[in-house]
Symmetry: C2
Subunit: 147 residues, 2 copies
């Protein structure tokens, strides 16, 4: 199995509500027009929003409804601490729940968390040890030092 | 909030068990050496394995333990139907649970699902309408027709 991830699908209770958050709130643009599913092109990968019930059915899994932590966190790496603060403010203004305000963290970065309207967990972090390329893709390599 | 996803963290009950699956079973190579967390460099994005309990605590969320569907599915897009079958066989041989054998799906592709040892859901799909680039990154663009 090659080392790649093509798509992350977030199960949502109400696609229109989720789109109000991701499109109207965060300003993301979907790459398709379909009443059932929304695809967002991200650097190297696609994010999908789809009915949580349909997703569970498609995977042949019972769905207990999804209150609480689902065991997965997504992360948005920002280019600066100020961008972390800005993204958390933007997300909460758009209807996200602030789980943890940004603070300095033990690994040397600065990070906070929000939950989207369906409870999907996003960390928003500034990590000075990884590289965010111009196109937004992320690498474990240390950034080139600016002097 | 720029349209990107930097990191997907999968909460795991036992990192050693998870690494037996992803490293020994699937042949993935981690990009760091740390007893607490494993990072895998994927095209454009990083996959992390970390203690589910620590992840919940970090996000300030109660964790009910995570039996059942967490509302998120990851997907691995394969370059052919044969690769889908091969990946599902490889994953189940490595200890995954086969949730759905691969079959033709209504949207015109071919897909099955497995769950990793912590219950994280992976779809393995051949989607003839999207492009997988040489580096493994994925685009919503239609592939260039080969004739």
């Amino acid at each position: 199995m090659d080392q790649r991830l093509s798509l992350v699908t977030l199960g949502v209770a109400d696609l229109a509500r989720a789109l109000r958050f991701y499109e109207d709130g965060l300003g993301w643009r979907r790459g398709n027009q379909n009443a059932e599913v929304a695809f967002f092109q991200l650097p190297g990968i696609i994010l999908a929003l789809w009915s949580r019930a349909e997703l569970a059915k498609d995977a042949r899994l019972p769905d207990q409804g999804g209150d609480g932590f689902g065991g997965v966190a997504l992360a948005f790496n920002a280019r600066s601490r100020a961008e972390v603060d800005g993204v958390l403010a933007e997300a909460t203004a758009a209807g996200a729940t602030l789980l943890k305000p940004a603070e300095e963290v033990v690994w040397g970065g600065y990070a906070g968390y929000f939950a989207d309207p369906d409870g999907h967990v996003w960390e928003v972090a500034h990590n000075p040890f990884w590289t965010i390329r111009t196109d937004g893709s992320v690498s474990l390599e240390a950034p080139v030092q600016e002097r």
